[in-house]
């Protein structure tokens, strides 16, 4: 057991030496892998952040009915009755214009501007949820409400949120496709690197086969090499993404200071980082395994 561990340790050390012996070639291979990996990972971080930012927005569609600025209490009560009696309305909420202004003041960071307004420009509004959330039903309910007296404008609120949601779903699909393609590319790059190595070390492979090396022994340094190269590519990708997020956050920091709100991109979590290291490692190992199995069979003393 101890000898076995020592054998592996020796092999690992020898692999490092082999990587270092051709520093430029290894470096470029690792850079190619790292840059390629950083694309889907960067996209993933971006989408993850967008999702987090939009997470508190209700995906359930709502209709906002804005009333005329000079709508009286009685007129408002009339609209409320209509909503109460409408079978297609599930629930509704009244937002008085003063409350709306307060909310805007708190959430937008435009407090200074709002305080300087001569009068409240916002109308009273009803926020309406429909029983049937299909686009057609929502649209016809919106049209109905829009025609009521004193309703100036009726708007489907969640349309943009749903659009964002769909875009994020598309983005996630894109990450998966891109990630899948680049995983195949990583396997291919490793396959080729290992093929060249096996061919240049043909003599060595022949000699060790002659003096009783098992296939596992011969395969091991190549597998280590593939795994190490993949993992190094993962580290490069991690550095690129982390560096990019840091850079963006630094600039965002200034921007959000100006706008008096704080928005920062989330960095890769420890779990993300572990996956980013382990996945290319496994893929590199797999590519090397494919390559070495195929090319060792050809070399017989």
């Amino acid at each position: 057991m101890k000898a076995w561990a020592a054998q592996h340790a020796r092999c690992f050390a020898a692999t490092f030496v082999r990587l270092a012996r051709t520093p430029l070639g290894s470096l470029f291979n690792i850079l190619v892998i790292g840059i390629a990996l950083s694309l889907p990972v960067g996209l993933y971080v971006l989408i993850d952040n967008l999702q987090a930012a939009s997470g508190h927005l209700a995906a359930e569609p709502q209709i906002s009915a804005f009333l005329a600025l000079d709508a009286s209490r009685a007129e408002i009560a009339l609209i409320e009755t209509r909503l109460k009696q409408n079978a297609r309305v599930q629930r509704y909420r009244f937002v008085p214009r003063d409350q709306a202004l307060q909310e805007l003041k708190q959430s937008s960071g435009l407090a200074d501007v709002i305080d300087n307004l001569p009068q409240n420009p916002l109308p009273d509004a009803f926020i309406v949820s429909a029983r049937d959330n299909t686009p057609q039903a929502l649209e016809s309910l919106r049209e109905e409400i829009a025609q009521w007296p004193r309703v100036v404008h009726a708007q489907l609120d969640a349309a943009w949120a749903r659009r964002l949601d769909a875009t994020l779903r598309f983005g996630r699909a894109l990450v998966l496709i891109l990630g899948g393609l680049l995983a195949v590319a990583l396997i291919a790059v490793t396959f080729n690197t290992i093929r060249l190595q096996v061919l240049t070390q043909r003599e060595e492979v022949e000699v060790v086969k002659l003096i009783g090396a098992t296939d596992a022994f011969i395969r091991r340094p190549f597998l280590y090499y593939g795994a190490l190269q993949g993992a190094a590519g993962g580290v490069v990708a991690w550095l690129i993404v982390t560096g990019a997020v840091w850079l963006v956050n630094r600039n965002l920091g200034e921007l959000s200071h100006v706008y008096a709100s704080l928005f920062q991109l989330r960095q890769l979590t420890p779990l993300d980082s572990a996956v980013l290291l382990a996945l290319p490692l496994a893929l590199g190992w797999f590519g090397a395994w494919l390559s070495v199995g195929r090319h060792l069979r050809v070399i017989e003393p």
Binding site: W4, V207, L210, I211, G212, A213
Partner: protein, 219 residues
């Protein structure tokens, strides 16, 4: 220990390298396989370590039928042998020490034990002072002795040498011959394929002569 009966080897393409060869070699014997080039000496050695498989007949080494050995078992068969090649087959990208350590590395020896054995083997062939050198800096005779050190470092019970003195002048060849004699004296079975008559006269071994792939005589 080694037993061949009715062994034939026909290469793809039709040339028959060996035809109905049979002999026994006992443990501790010193045997030479002789014959002119093309007589089948090298093919015979290749059959013994399963580099080639016989087309007919059986080859028994230590009770194992080499001809029908599974590919998985071949490395372990080869570890019973020490192989010495005419062209040395050294690895020129690593030191003398590391070349000799290779069989021990393969067999999974610990570093301390391996170091001791490597130095003992290098000492035996007179190369201990070159342990850190690269093989390319050694002379032809020294490279052959390095190859021998690598062959004996894991203490195999059988030593197989293919034309070990083929490229060496007489003095070096004598050194090599003495090494073989000393291994044989401590009980190692030594099998040498050669057409070196001087070496033959010096060691006076048992001779298995081949002529055109068949047994010429057995003594």
């Amino acid at each position: 220990m080694i037993s061949l009966s009715h062994v034939s080897k026909r290469y793809p393409g039709g040339r028959e390298a060996l035809h109905d060869v049979g002999f026994n070699i006992d443990s501790g014997e010193l045997a030479f396989i002789t014959g002119h080039s093309g007589a089948g000496k090298t093919t015979l050695l290749k059959l013994l370590v399963a580099i080639e498989r016989p087309t007919a007949g059986s080859i028994i080494v230590n009770g194992q039928n080499v001809g029908s050995l599974q590919a998985r078992a071949v490395p372990f068969l080869r570890r019973k042998f020490g192989l010495i090649f005419q062209d040395h087959k050294l690895l020129f990208d690593r030191s003398v020490f590391d070349n000799v350590a290779l069989p021990l590395d393969i067999a999974g020896y610990g570093a301390k034990d391996a170091g001791r054995r490597v130095r003992a083997a290098l000492d035996k062939v007179g190369l201990l002072k070159y342990e850190k050198a690269l093989p390319i800096t050694l002379s032809g005779g020294e490279q052959q002795r390095l190859c021998i050190a690598r062959a004996i470092v894991h203490r195999p019970s059988i030593l197989l040498a293919d034309e070990p003195t083929g490229n060496l002048d007489a003095d070096y060849a004598n050194d090599i011959g003495e090494l073989f004699r000393s291994f044989n004296q401590v009980g190692v079975t030594v099998i040498v394929a050669t057409h070196d008559q001087a070496l033959l006269a010096r060691l006076n071994p048992r001779v298995i002569a081949l002529r055109n792939g068949a047994m010429a005589q057995a003594s």
